[in-house]
Point group: C2
Chain length 357, copies 2
Amino acid sequence: MAKQHLDPAASPVAGDALADYLQAQATEFLRALRVHREGGGTSNGTPESADAARALRRSARRISSTLHTFRPLLDADWSEGMRPELAWLSGTLAREHAYGARLERLLNALNRLSGAATTAVVPAQSKTLAGRATAEPAANGPRTPQPTADRGTLTVGAAKAGALLERQLTLARTRAHSAALQALGSSRFHAVADSVAVLASEVPLAPAASAGKLPPLAAEAEGRLTDAVAALPLLTAGHPYNAAALVHGLSADTAPQPQDAPWHQVRLLLRLHRYALEVLHGHDPADPRLRSAGQALNRHRDAAEAASAAASAARTPRIAPATAYALGVLHADQRHEVEAARFAFQRAWSRDSVGTG
Amino acid sequence: MAKQHLDPAASPVAGDALADYLQAQATEFLRALRVHREGGGTSNGTPESADAARALRRSARRISSTLHTFRPLLDADWSEGMRPELAWLSGTLAREHAYGARLERLLNALNRLSGAATTAVVPAQSKTLAGRATAEPAANGPRTPQPTADRGTLTVGAAKAGALLERQLTLARTRAHSAALQALGSSRFHAVADSVAVLASEVPLAPAASAGKLPPLAAEAEGRLTDAVAALPLLTAGHPYNAAALVHGLSADTAPQPQDAPWHQVRLLLRLHRYALEVLHGHDPADPRLRSAGQALNRHRDAAEAASAAASAARTPRIAPATAYALGVLHADQRHEVEAARFAFQRAWSRDSVGTG
């Protein structure tokens, strides 16, 4: 069959929906960038600039995902050049936020495990709980579980583990912040911003863009998702307390666990599917099943990375045994969170698909 | 109302069932004692003498429980004098077995967590897996997870944690063994054995023993059980991954956790109920619900004690941080086993009581 070269004007629906979506996201990107710059570019400064950084990441992810899913409908050279740049940008911006969130998750868990807090959630920027009663100067920190006089070594271990994690993750966050600032001032970033500015006014559609091609491409994205989900060990995940996530919890490879990879992959494919639906519908269809499945996979990723951070902190030279013990408990706790997140995903996914699968 | 002084001969059913049961258990006790003595009294010697020790504990528990539940039907002075002696005996005999089982549970868990074993279960008396490749002489031991050359500090930590637990629990087990041998040679034990021998031939029933009193007393035992179960946090326990068992996992009080006590109490009450049913029916009615509920509570107790042993080992002076880390992971793992056991109990208990409660 001859390759079809349709006149773009002949495919108003596909072009319109796709162009409208990309233009809206590009406009949002530029708006967030303006707010972020007005806030001095320091995303840990004001809530506004933190929101702006989040909005920047959000629209960068959507543009990048849309370029991927609907690639055949867009100018190939342009979209293939732009995608890695957007991935670089959102990755760089995400890192600072991730370290902050990881620290908060780990300190909340330590508080819960220490029985210190009846309210387990500690405000992220709280400066009120300074660990001044601690004998160890190194254990001082704004969000460290605080041992009282009659507590034993294990609680001191929790406090020191909290202080160690706080030092390490705050340092990582500060570095990520500098890297993000540097990225936003780079010529590489300005080239991305220019491309997005072009996108906001004119989307370079491919000649092959036709009305009928949007739904099949979205369906392909959904197919990749359902295939990847079908390959997950959902039978195990749906059986509570299967203890699968902590297998290899003490093996030498504490870098990202291989067993987590397929779940992380499904998380990305679920996101691509959701954004493809947004393109089709012109808005987030707000499917509660996808929403809770996505939340479970975010929790899975966060807990896996927190567990890894605890294991990594335990390899710090010259830490006290009590600190290492607390980090071990914390690691296992977060790996059980990983297991719990898989269970939650299995529940969310199977709930509404009964009878359709 | 005047106190009833019935002729024992007027209550053949109650007297018969109770006397038959106690006599059978007493006979079993004496048989097990004979086998145990023929085996040299060393319960870690032959499988036969280990079985005999188990049978001794088993019948001592049943006699003691029966004296408790059906107290009003038995001679008060005699049964009140005998119960603490039987409790002392079965407690003393149980300790050696408990330390061995605890060590096996912890080493199996360490193997699982190290990803070392595809088959997680290590035979209790296996001498085949000597950790000769380990750099640490202290880490050598028959059932210790074995690090290979390319494994990191964390796996070495698992091996050292295994070796430490093996040393500590083997020592405790050896002491318990000596204590059990000493107890079996004591005049206190001979007095118990004499009482059981009397019981085997003649059960001292109270004048109040009447046909109708066996079921109400058994019902009272069941009532105490159902009341205690009703006070358990079953709503939480039935919600998978509630993370309740690890709260206070790092608090100073690593001695038996207060939150475990009501579950341990239900375990004892469930046993009293089961033995009362044995008296009523003349045999174990083999109720699958009671069986799985009881198994869940045994698992709860074993995991709670194993978690406590891991926490206790972590307080050994001068251990390496990697060892402490592994013990922390292990502690948390066993506390999650505690949580899993509560979930299993909740499932077992509620399965058949739907509509009857």
